[in-house]
């Protein structure tokens, strides 16, 4: 048995958590960006319709 067995077990479990948390965070950042873009376009359309 590899002497670093327990160390690699933690790497394995940590990598799963890191991927899950990392992907979750990228989703939240992306959500904020597209919400900003949506708001910007809505106000642009309203401005142009008023003119």
């Amino acid at each position: 048995m590899d002497s670093r067995n327990i160390e690699f077990m933690f790497y394995g479990l940590a990598s799963a958590w890191v991927i899950l948390i990392g992907y979750g965070l990228t989703l939240l950042v992306r959500e904020r960006k597209i919400d900003d873009e949506l708001r910007r376009l809505r106000s642009l359309v309203e401005d142009r319709e008023r003119k």
Partner: protein
């Protein structure tokens, strides 16, 4: 309402994962042959199961798009595929770390690992391809066709350990030599936890796809005005 549902599901999923982590690390004994490293299996196997479910939904959504030509089905396909890729990545990375200890190598080109890697490449390719096509209906049609072809790799991944002689272990949840008792229960307990987290991701992605369609429509309006 939508935000409340997502928050409740996320909290429930994380709570389940933490409870399972407690069981995995503190309640289950070390494996007699492998020592503590076998615990990676409790994330490795459910991640593949979750990815399999997500990809099946993605296939169904792609077929539905080709039948109905409704871009909401395309949104469902891309949302589930992207979440599946995250879980496929967990499966590949955790498997590789386990292999480093169990086999003494990070990777080997046996039938299971190779077909799994090809599966990951196909679906990453699907996501990259989508960024290269601007026209929404063309993007949806080509993506749906690619999705159907890509899914053909999934049964090969699943059955490769039965069809071929592989370095990868034989099925551990069924057949001779399968795990039993609390170890098997821990694998099945972590699956719904990951499914809940996956469902939260899909719901977030679905909304993003819906907003993107609205953004596309607003851009066309801005050009027209």
């Amino acid at each position: 309402m939508r935000k409340t549902v997502i928050t409740v599901m996320a909290v429930l999923g994380i709570a389940l994962l933490l409870r399972n982590l407690h069981v995995i690390l503190l309640e289950l004994p070390d494996d007699a042959a492998q020592g503590p490293i076998y615990r990676i299996m409790f994330f490795h196997i459910p991640s593949w199961f979750t990815a399999g479910i997500a990809l099946s939904l993605s296939l169904a959504a792609s077929v539905m798009y080709l039948i109905k030509k409704d871009l909401r089905w395309d949104g469902m396909a891309v949302a589930t595929t992207e979440v599946a890729v995250a879980f496929l990545t967990i499966g590949l990375v955790t498997g590789s770390i386990w292999g480093r200890v169990a086999w003494g190598i990070w990777w080997t080109w046996d039938a299971r690992l190779t077909s799994a890697f090809v599966c990951w490449l196909l679906y990453v390719g699907y996501l990259v391809l989508r960024t290269a096509i601007d026209e929404p209906t063309q993007r949806a049609r080509i993506s749906a066709v690619l999705q159907i072809f890509a899914f053909a790799d999934l049964p090969i991944v699943w059955y490769s350990i039965e069809w071929f002689r592989t370095q990868h272990p034989a099925p551990v949840l069924r057949g001779a030599g399968s795990i039993e008792g609390p170890m098997k229960a821990a694998v099945y307990a972590n699956w719904p936890a990951l499914m809940l987290i996956g469902a939260v991701f899909v719901m977030l992605r679905l909304r993003q796809e819906s907003v993107k369609r609205e953004i596309d429509s607003l851009r066309r309006t801005v050009h027209a005005l």
